[in-house]
């Protein structure tokens, strides 16, 4: 009898290995999950993993639930109402080091690269344009640096008017990108301190939080002069004729990491097989999104346009997901990598990406005290979990869903040093303090914010 059962099992596993759908069975400890997301196109891997039944292939029964805002989403992951969520890359890091909310959030999967842009109002654009060289085709030369914006900000200052801009969340990629771009052009975006979390200490441009869908309306009302946000809210400004996107985040930092999939540390320890299954399903979704030169993007756009996911009109979503970007009305330029879900090892959780976010938190005073290089590495290792990622990748290769070349098996978690930033500064994640030293604007070394001043110690 036992012999018979054995052979049946072997037969079955052979058949399944052959069909390459269930080479090795995962037994998730928890198989009914609720996952949160914000209505943005970069939640795509979640929607695809569900609609293409990649979750079910891992034995996971996932309910996706749209959340009202980033704060609610994070809180619900912490309380366990959500098992995991689509998060801003800064959120798990900030939560883990206790900036804002304190909780140990981790990520085994990075969700995408790029996808944001900075838009300014028509009035600001008209004044900026005078400072931008024109190319041979008569169009402004890209990438546009904040140098062109600096005289405008100074003019505002001279007139006694504050120059205000919007971003979506204090620890959002958007905040750091906007700050990076402004500072690279010599405009101080202001510092945070433990006593003043407005982030406007010594600021030349005043940055404040505005929810993404309200950006265009807020700018149209004149409350802000520009903003940094994901799609479709930059293209929306072009459509409405109320503003001009001046630079995409691809030009600020080529192939920068954007969102991550966040879980509590407790969850990953209690349910390791579930975590592995989730990671496998998400990697498959990311592969699907990018395979054959984005061949599936159109179908993805249709899925995302359903009311339960992003819900916006398909044409609007398609605009940012199919490879072009429109700056000034009629100035449409190719942007093949505007949204990357899998190419360039997009989903691997690199420590160096985590460290970059931490350097920006330190640079602008969200991390108030100076930290050793080792500290950055330690935090990155406690939040980013490439081991789980690689284990999931290995299983996918064994099952025939991916190939060895799809994953950076030989990396130590640090990307090579790069200077593909708008200011050409070189970033090496292994030396965060040296990196901070290379910026003319920003906290470095022993500096701390004391009241309204930078004080050395």
């Amino acid at each position: 009898m036992r012999h018979f059962l054995c052979s049946v099992t072997m037969l079955c596993s052979l058949t399944f290995a052959a069909t390459a759908t269930h080479a090795e069975m995962l037994f998730p400890e928890k198989d009914e999950l609720t996952i949160g997301f914000i209505k943005l196109t970069d939640m795509a891997p979640l929607a695809i993993a569900k609609e293409m039944h990649f979750f079910e292939d891992e034995g996971l029964y996932v309910t996706l639930e749209a959340q009202a805002n980033w704060k609610v989403l994070l809180d619900r992951v912490i309380t366990g109402e959500l098992d995991g969520a689509h998060m801003l890359a800064g959120q798990p890091l900030a939560a883990t080091i206790g900036y804002g909310t304190k909780a140990h959030i981790v990520t085994p999967f990075s969700m995408d690269l790029n996808g944001n842009a900075i838009t300014v109002s028509n009035a600001v654009w008209d004044r900026m344009k005078e400072n931008i060289p024109v190319g041979p085709d008569g169009k402004p030369q890209h990438p546009i640096k904040a140098d062109a914006l600096k005289p405008v900000v100074e003019a505002y200052k001279a007139e006694g008017k504050p120059f205000k801009m919007g971003m979506v969340f204090p620890v959002s990629t958007h905040n750091y990108e906007l700050r990076y771009w402004l500072a690279a052009g010599g405009i101080n975006p202001g510092y945070y301190s433990p006593g003043d979390i407005s982030g406007q200490i010594q600021a030349g441009a005043l940055l404040s939080v505005t929810p993404p869908p309200q950006m265009p309306a807020t700018m149209e009302a004149g409350t802000i002069e520009g903003y940094c946000v994901g799609e479709p809210w930059n293209q929306a400004a072009v459509f409405k004729g109320i503003g001009v996107p001046v630079v995409t985040d691809y030009d600020i930092w080529k192939n920068n990491p954007e969102k991550v999939f966040g879980l509590t540390k407790e969850f990953t320890e209690k349910y390791p097989q579930t975590t592995l299954g989730l990671t496998k399903a998400l990697i498959r979704a990311a592969i699907w999104l990018d395979e054959n030169d984005n061949a599936n993007r159109e179908e993805a756009v249709e899925i995302l346009s359903r009311p339960e996911y992003v819900g916006a009109d398909a044409e609007v979503i398609a605009n940012s997901m199919t490879g072009t970007f429109e700056y000034e009305k009629g100035d449409k330029r190719p942007a093949a990598d505007f949204n990357v879900f899998f190419r360039h090892f997009a989903t691997y959780p690199y420590y160096s990406d985590a460290v970059w976010y931490l350097t920006q938190m330190r640079r602008w005073g969200q991390i108030a005290e100076p930290q050793e290089d080792g500290w950055y590495d330690e935090v990155a290792r406690s939040v980013y979990l490439p081991d789980i990622y690689l284990e999931a990748a290995r299983q996918l290769i064994d099952e025939g869903h991916a190939t060895e070349a799809d994953f950076p098996f030989d990396t130590d978690g640090y990307k090579p040093a790069t200077s593909e930033f708008i200011d050409g500064v070189t970033y090496d994640g292994r030396h965060p303090n040296a990196y901070l030293e290379s910026f003319p604007i920003g906290l470095k070394g022993d500096e701390v914010i004391d009241g309204n001043k930078i004080a050395g110690r």
């Binding site: 069975m25 029964y61 819900g311």
Partner: protein, 358 residues
Amino acid sequence: MTIATDILDPEIAARRERRIARINRAGKVLAPFGLGFVVPLLKLAAGDTPSEQWADLKQMLLVPLIGILAFLAAWAYLAPKVQTSLGAIPGPAAVFQQAEVLMDDHFAERQKAEAFYARQDERNQMLIAEGYADRVKVRPYTGKPTYLDQIWTSLLTVALGFFIGTVIAVPVGIACGLSKTFEGAINPLIQLFKPVSPLAWLPIVTMVVAALYQNPSDLLPKSMVISAVTVTLCSIWPTIINTALGVASIDRDLVNVGKVLQLSTWTTIRKLVLPSSLPLIFTGMRLSLGVGWMVLIAAEMLAQNPGLGKFVWDEFQNGSSDSLARIMVAVITIGLIGFFLDRVMFALQTAFTYSANR
């Protein structure tokens, strides 16, 4: 069927009388639901004098119909003149079309659910085949709730909130009506809490429920309890006030009789107080239900709890070109359900008022 033959045949006339009497009785039930116009139509069909029915019909069907048509016409004419960032405001036709889409969507989702169960079944079969029969489990469908599901959730939530509210408000109201001291103690609190908006209650309720309701069951999720308690807090006041008023205004003779007979408090409440104050209690409950339904939608929108409120908010956030029309479908649904709930309470009230007026 002419009058002349009716006169000639008394039996037919008698039968018609009976039929009309039945129709009149049915009319008492239909009228509160705004279906009073059916009565003259039925009477016409039964062969009653057309001229009399015509007057009724004009009042009950034609005039309201003109009102509705005028509104639809004004809507259809004015809507395209307002341009929003999502395009023109949808007219009645677009809204009706979206209502159909939402219905189709419901049935499409049901089919997806079936496919989901089939896939799950297949997987479970495979588990059994591989010798893991103990791991077989049937999980509920994980797809999105459809529009009809959301309506159902909202109805359940408001029923729960209303039930909790009534259970609290009626005894408190009776105690207020019976004892001046108790009323004195509770009255300032009623005055203080009555005007508080659901939006202010919600954060407190959310925190308290989260702290007290640790292990939610599938039948009674935390979000539903939060919405329901918010509904309760906002809607109990009319019931308390009306109950107290009803109890306080019982005929003094009845109370004296009770004293002479030395009835226990419980018997007094059951035999004297409740029957005579029922009409006002029902008035209070009817007001409470109305307030509760309004509050529920706001609570669901703010807390993102499942239900019609969440549907509205999700569509607002989606910002697709269909979103406005879908929100309007929801508005009309909310109105119709609110009207229906009110009429149900009204019918109950009429029923009880009749028996209490002895």
